[in-house]
């Protein structure tokens, strides 16, 4: 059953990419500014998947469905996959591989600085996502993978700062992130209280 659900999740995570590929090379309906559409769509899917990944632990704790953990790695890696697509479009179509202008973007524009941090922090997490690395790192693995909190926060800031005005959509993502991180604070406080009682 879990294997089937995992296969289904895998396919579902590929749907946005497949849809964009079809719109780009098949139907040709990426809109008036196709590069912008690709950039926005890949970025938003990276953020959505990052938040879904962050929802797994609270879901598991609140529902008691421990098998939910089986999906976490795949979802996190797909978030990384979309973030890499997002970055690649920027490198190729916005900068045409020109390092100097990319560096200028990262240093001078706060929203791109935030986006770069979000993506850079995902790199070690993706690299240490193998079963071997998890065994090898033990306790430190869990500590290290808390970097996703920073990464997701930077990703949300990236989205908010990109917009000229405050728009509801970005605030929605900020709200979801606040809830997901807030739950963890509550869990941690409870754990500490429970320990203090013992």
């Amino acid at each position: 059953m879990i294997r089937f659900l995992k296969a289904l999740t895998f396919v579902a995570c590929l749907v946005p990419a497949a849809s964009l590929a079809w719109r780009a090379f098949g139907s040709g309906d990426l809109g008036v500014n196709p590069i912008e559409t690709l950039t926005h769509q890949t970025g938003q899917w990276a953020l959505r998947l990052l938040l879904i990944t962050l929802a797994i632990t609270p879901l598991r704790r609140l529902s008691g469905w421990n098998r939910a953990i089986a999906f976490r790695r795949m979802l996190g890696l797909f978030a990384f996959f979309y973030a890499i697509l997002h970055l690649s479009i920027w490198v190729v179509f916005d900068h045409y591989f020109k390092v100097s202008t990319m560096v200028e973007d990262v240093v001078k524009r706060p929203f791109i600085t935030a986006g770069s941090i979000a993506l850079l922090l995902m790199v070690p997490l993706a690299l240490t996502s193998t079963t071997w690395a998890i065994r090898r790192l033990g306790r430190r693995w869990q500590q290290m993978h808390r970097l996703i909190y920073v990464s997701a926060t930077a990703a949300v800031l990236h989205f908010i700062w990109k917009e000229k005005v405050i728009i509801n959509e970005t605030l929605m993502y900020a709200g979801i992130l606040a809830v997901l991180l807030g739950i963890r604070v509550v869990f941690a406080l409870r754990k500490r209280a429970a320990r203090a009682r013992v």
């Binding site: 500014n33 179509f93 045409y96 001078k108 005005v165």
Partner: protein, 319 residues
């Protein structure tokens, strides 16, 4: 519509607001009735609510030496990718929602430091000078650009007609603010109504036009129907849409984006590849229809005509 009393207009010339509004309602009702009666919706001259109106062809358009010969963007590009925050912040919102804006009848209030301040019918403004086609580059502050065949008249022709007074140094423009027809003004995205401004010499410059058409026909609502400003050497947001008021002033008027984020948008907002924006490089741009970015030109390529307006000014300071 919010009508403020202008100091230089005799009160006898001002139409009381209740008459104004009731007349508009009458026209709107008439339009709906006529549209209902007409089998194929041929009542395009009346401002119908919603739906794409057939745009009316404009007669006797002359060509202009100010036009660029660059490849023009398609009509479809120009009417489906717009920033018109009164209808929403997404680029597709104006096309989706602007159809409900009533554009006929339409008056533009001219007041402030002018001798002939009055409420002018848009048809009357258009009659000021011969209609010209002006194919201009439009550079958005967001880093994209298009080439657009506008139809309009020089703003200077109309301003001369209303006779600015000696102390007048600036023109302030205001966009329609009608919550019943504009879903975007219910949000706090900007401080409505949208206002813009030009120095009087910029307003009088021959490149500056009041556009009423696109591709030989009347403007679509999402492009700022029935009358809008086009200032091709400045970022697109300076070219204010759906104008209901022009006020001549002695002091520099407040402008919508400058009020919202002064460190990002200056009063002048000339296209300048050397002054970058906190969010976007201004050194290059994506021409809609092209995959890779191209270099942005100083004053959007209109430097030969307009650079002298800013002689001696530090354009890094007056961005």
């Amino acid at each position: 519509m919010h009508i403020r009393k202008g100091s230089s207009i005799p009160s006898s010339e001002i139409t009381p607001e209740h008459l104004y509004v009731s007349r508009r309602d009458f026209m709107r009702t008439t339009a709906v009735v006529v549209a209902g009666a007409a089998a194929a919706g041929t009542a395009s001259a009346c401002g119908m609510e919603d739906g794409a109106l057939a745009q009316t062809p404009l007669p006797n358009i002359t060509k202009s030496g100010f036009s660029t010969s660059e490849k023009q963007n398609t009509f479809e590009d120009i009417i489906s990718y717009n920033n018109f925050y009164e209808f929403g912040t997404d680029k597709s919102d104006p096309q989706r929602y602007a159809g409900r804006m009533t554009t006929s009848p339409w008056k533009v209030k001219v007041d402030g430091l002018v001798n002939k301040g009055a409420d002018y019918n848009v048809e009357d403004i258009v009659r000021t000078a011969a209609l010209e086609e002006r194919v201009y580059r439009l550079r958005c502050v967001e880093g994209w650009s298009m080439v657009i065949p506008w139809v309009g008249i020089p703003l200077a022709s109309f301003l001369k007609r209303v006779e600015p007074q000696g102390q007048a140094k600036f023109v302030e423009f205001t966009t329609l603010n009608r919550p019943s027809e504009m879903p975007g003004v219910h949000t706090r995205a900007l401080d409505w109504p949208y206002t813009e401004g030009l120095r009087l010499d910029e307003a009088m410059h021959p490149l500056t036009i009041l556009a009423v058409g696109l591709y030989g026909k009347t403007l679509m609502n999402q492009n700022g129907a029935p009358i809008r400003l086009v200032v091709p050497w400045k970022y697109g947001f300076k070219s204010i849409k759906s104008i209901v008021r022009m006020r001549l002033t002695e002091t520099q008027p407040a402008t919508a984006w400058n009020k919202a984020t002064p460190q990002e948008y200056g009063f002048y907002s000339n296209v300048n590849p050397n002054v970058s924006h906190p969010r976007w490089t201004q050194a290059n741009e994506r021409r809609i229809g092209e995959l890779f970015r191209r270099e942005t030109l100083m004053f959007n390529g209109y430097g030969d005509q307009v650079a002298s307006l800013y002689a001696g000014m530090d354009l890094k300071k007056f961005y």
